[in-house]
Each structure stands twice: as structure tokens, then as C-alpha cells.
Symmetry: C2
Subunit: 112 residues, 2 copies
Amino acid sequence: MPKYHDELDAVLRALADPTRRTVVERLAKSPAVVSELAAPFSMALPSLMQNLCVLENAGLVTSQKHGRVRTVSLRPGALDVLHLWLGEQRTPAEHQADRLGIHMTRTTPKET
Amino acid sequence: MPKYHDELDAVLRALADPTRRTVVERLAKSPAVVSELAAPFSMALPSLMQNLCVLENAGLVTSQKHGRVRTVSLRPGALDVLHLWLGEQRTPAEHQADRLGIHMTRTTPKET
């Protein structure tokens, strides 16, 4: 699956930068205009735009311009590729713990 | 939480490389000796050792030497920091879908 791996590479590289991660954390709450995203950083606007470009190329965010205002949103399902990969890396011990958890849920009487 | 963010930086940077990710994928199944980890790559052993060093510094793997054989293991809970961060990024829509899922589980009669 080269596409899946290329996507993972891009997402992981994009998220390895603390500034870009802070932008994703903010956008997980709601879309935001660029000036609002820039506010927490002592960073020139062109540098922030460059980081947004990396996030957009990695498929993590989308943006729309209305007049002079650009609004950035987290792309729905943006982090799915990472969820999927993490799920695949569950160790045999974790799988066993999962099964035990399911068994406990099924057999433990509910509190009333 | 600077420690948490430093840990995340290191883990994401380590995983952004496809070779290192393949090593983690292999180790999620079971520990392995270095020669076994090297087998799928057309890579000189020193380069692989360098990648293992990055994974070890990021807290993702541990290794033990017995005589001339070094065995590498995925550190238990190695990917927890990433699971945690991903969980924190759930959007309001995803939270709503979760709640709906829980509601469906509680109200849908079990098939017998």
C-alpha cells in the first residue's frame, strides 16, 4: 500500500513539529481564521502560512478564502490514517488485554 | 506539559521514517534479533543500527545484548503518548458520534 505509507509519512512529518501540532489542536475544536491561528505564536505570518501549507499538503487541513479572510479547518477524518496504523501495531499482550476487557464487560453485572 | 510534548516530538519524528516504522511494525509482533530486523532492508548494518538508536532515544524500543546477539523489543506502552494525543484531538462531531454509538449499544437489543 504505497499510498497509505506516503500519507502516513506526510502526516507524521507534519505533526512532528510542535507549532503545526498546536495548530491542529486548535482546529480540532473548530475552524479558525489565519490571524487567530497566528495569535499564540511569536512567528511572522509567512512562517505560519508555510506551516499551514505543510499541513494542507499532508491532507490534515483545508482552507477557504472569503474576501481577504482565510478560514482553516481540520479535514474530517484527517487523523484516520494514524488511528489505523496505531491500531495495527497492537502487541499480542494488548490484544489479550482487549479480549479480557470485552469478557469483563460481558460478564460483569451492571450497577443499578 | 513540556515532557509530554518533547516525547511526542521524538516519537513522531522517529515514526516519520518508513524504515523505522517497518521495524516498529515487526517488533509489535514479537522481539527480534538485529540480523532479523535487517533482513527486509537493503541497508548496511550501521545504518540500521542508527535507526534503532533513534527509536531507542524516542523511547519506542529497548534492546539487550546476550553474548554477540542483540535482541530488540518494542517498549510496553511505547505508543501510548500518541494514542493519548490522538484521543485529545477528537472533534466535536466525533464526540457526538461516540455518544450516539454508546446510545445505540445501550438501546439496541442483543441478537440471540
